[in-house]
């Protein structure tokens, strides 16, 4: 018994084609975009300040915005209400997460800006201008005495704010990074 040569060749070709398809070929159906088209969604802020927008704000500018748009949940002067206190002097004591405050736990001030801009106010996220977000960030940091009352927060100054708890973290599984 022998197999005629043309069939052998055809089989070999078929195998080769199949292997190529399963290993390398993907549908390539993604639509190419440039970063300009993504800019409105690209709200990620990194701790070194990458991604911070233009604009600025001061604690004095933030105070009335807070009173109007934030205090209903976070309380007068950010001392807490149905939502968490944002200004709190307590020291970290015990293992309960209820002890965490911006001042005693949050390692990066950029996170304050990032979270306000993406998620607040709770009922109207993405409704604040970048200047308003800078002003609210400045207000909260100043009330916590993490910056001076006259400091302006912008893309240059915000990443430089030193948060007290920054160096108090342990990477749990370094080999997974």
């Amino acid at each position: 018994m022998f197999t005629p040569r043309p069939i052998l060749v055809a089989t070999a070709l078929l195998l080769a084609t199949t292997a190529t398809v399963s290993l390398a070929e993907t549908p390539h159906l993604g639509k190419p975009l440039d970063e300009a088209a993504i800019a409105n969604w690209d709200i990620s802020i990194l701790p070194d300040g990458t991604g911070l927008p233009r604009g600025s704000g001061t604690p004095a500018q933030g105070a009335p915005i807070f009173a109007e748009k934030c205090s209903a949940c976070h309380g007068d002067n950010a001392k807490g209400g149905v939502a968490a206190a944002l200004v709190d002097d307590r020291k970290l004591a015990g293992i309960s997460a209820s002890q965490k405050t911006i001042k005693n736990f949050w390692p990066y001030a950029t996170t304050v800006f990032d979270f306000i801009r993406r998620a607040m106010p709770f009922t109207a996220p993405r409704s604040l201008s970048d200047d308003e977000v800078y002003a609210l960030t400045a207000y909260i940091l100043a009330e916590n005495k993490l910056i001076d009352a006259n400091d302006t927060m912008n893309a240059e100054t915000l990443p430089k704010v030193k948060m007290p708890n920054r160096d108090n973290f342990i990477i749990r599984f370094p080999d997974r990074i």
Binding site: E35, D42, S44, F115, A119, R126, F169
Partner: protein, 444 residues
């Protein structure tokens, strides 16, 4: 204790009496479950033979005497199962997050029905139009790309049965005294499903990756635009964009129309309503990673990037709130899982950890999925403390509560049961059985 249990098991392998106890207080060799049912019934019965004399004659129910209901296009469970529901933390959708916990004590097997899969949502459940939803991958890539649900559906699909667990599941166990709560309240923020979708590595092959990219930040289309940083290492390992849950499109609360799925990793990282992935050099330190999912340790430092849901098990039946109706044979049944791989074995104790017997593992035993374990137990009517302890294939052992608390600490007073005072609790759960048959949560 593991070695002594193995010795007991190996004694059975020598072919001696198959149904003798393998551990104290009534635990029976797991092989009694495997094809020895008749023998088991004969050998291990309570000794009280039911009397046939008083039995009423069998009659037809009304449902057997009339035509049944119409067949619906999408069938729902029996109306008699209405009590099998999730418990809710925020039923009125007040402006805060909402949890829904899985009723493990009312379920069996390893698959969580879609309607009962746990959810946590941080700004309600968005009503996303799947035709308008887009996923964008950009940042440190060669070519940013946008995908629709329709285009993703044309990519090679992969399925994976995997558990999802909130990093804060079991948080009431940090209480200094055992909270009198059901397995649903204690451990209801973990579920297991078959997820189907596109491997993230397939999409990253098309965008290309700048070698500088070490992380990605994933973001949802929900109102908080929930955002988490994930190592590229995980993205290229087993991450997927999940489109289907147990064969049908994702439930709205589980991320419809698409979510990031990171098998074995903290639930919150599995970003739902996924709309954007940006490759970056350093982690973004979003609020959920730098604050919420960083766990305070007894010395005041905190863990960061815990990621892994470690090896864990708990008994679902019997469990807190149940009542055993008289002495006799029971099946102890529960769930084991590990974010590090397959479950290797589960040991069960009926005497608070003094002695242990090896439970039967129901096939299939899948990596990073629920594994159902079972153990026959003859309750003699006396006090008993039921525990389970799991080992995974990577050699990780579920810690005892004492071992766990020595490292992670405990609270000074019981927390509100719905609170998340700390996270990543994986030690042993104990159920105390009293002489009247009532089952309560205890520490042992």
């Amino acid at each position: 204790m593991n070695k002594s249990a193995d010795r007991i098991a190996s004694k059975h392998d020598a072919g001696k009496q198959a149904l003798e106890a393998v551990a104290g207080n009534g635990l029976i060799d797991r092989r009694a479950l495997l094809g020895r049912g008749v023998l088991l019934a004969g050998a291990m019965g309570t000794g009280i033979a039911p009397s046939a004399a008083s039995a009423e004659p069998l009659t037809d129910g009304p449902w057997s005497l009339e035509i049944g209901e119409a067949t619906p296009p999408y069938q729902l469970r029996s109306k008699f199962e209405a009590k099998v529901v999730r418990t809710l933390s925020n039923p009125d959708n007040e402006p805060r997050n909402s949890h829904a916990r899985t009723p493990h004590h009312l379920l069996e097997g390893i698959t969580t029905p879609n309607g009962l899969h746990f959810t946590i949502n941080h700004g309600g459940i968005p009503a996303i139009d799947p035709e308008q939803h887009r996923l964008v991958i950009h940042g440190l890539v060669k070519q940013p790309l946008e995908f629709s649900l329709e285009t993703l559906s044309r990519y090679p699909q992969v399925s994976r049965v995997t558990f999802l667990e909130c990093g804060g599941n079991s948080a009431p166990m940090f209480s200094p005294e055992p909270m009198q709560e059901t397995v649903q309240a204690l451990h209801g923020l973990v579920s297991c499903a078959e997820w189907t979708g596109v491997k993230l590595s397939t999409l990253l092959e098309e965008t290309g990756i700048d070698p500088k990219a070490k992380w990605l930040v994933a973001e949802g289309a929900d109102s908080p635009h929930l955002s988490r940083s994930v190592p590229v290492k995980k993205a290229l390992d087993d991450a997927m964009i999940a489109l289907y849950q147990n064969g049908e499109r994702l439930m709205p609360g589980n991320g419809y129309p698409m979510r990031l799925l990171l098998p074995g990793y903290e639930g919150n990282m599995n970003v739902k309503f996924l709309r954007r992935i940006k490759l970056i050099e350093q982690p973004a330190m979003t609020m959920y990673e730098s604050r919420t999912y960083s766990q305070i340790l007894p010395d005041g430092k905190a863990y960061r990037f815990y990621f892994l849901q470690e090896v864990k098990s708990f008994i679902t039946s019997p469990s807190h709130g149940m009542a055993l109706k008289g002495p006799g044979l029971f099946e102890v049944s529960g769930i084991a899982y590990s974010g590090a791989g397959r479950i290797e074995k589960v040991m069960v104790s009926a005497d608070g950890g003094k002695s242990w017997g090896q439970a039967a593992l129901q096939e299939p035993v899948l990596s990073k999925a629920f594994t159902r374990f079972r153990m026959p137990w003859r309750w003699d009517g006396g006090p008993a403390t039921l525990q389970s302890r799991a080992w995974d294939e990577a050699g990780n052992v579920q810690p005892t509560r004492a071992e766990f608390v020595a490292v992670r600490g405990e609270l000074t007073k019981p927390p509100p049961v719905l609170a998340f005072p700390n996270q990543h609790y994986n030690s042993i759960t104990s159920w105390g059985v009293g002489t009247s048959g009532e089952v309560k949560h205890v520490y042992a």
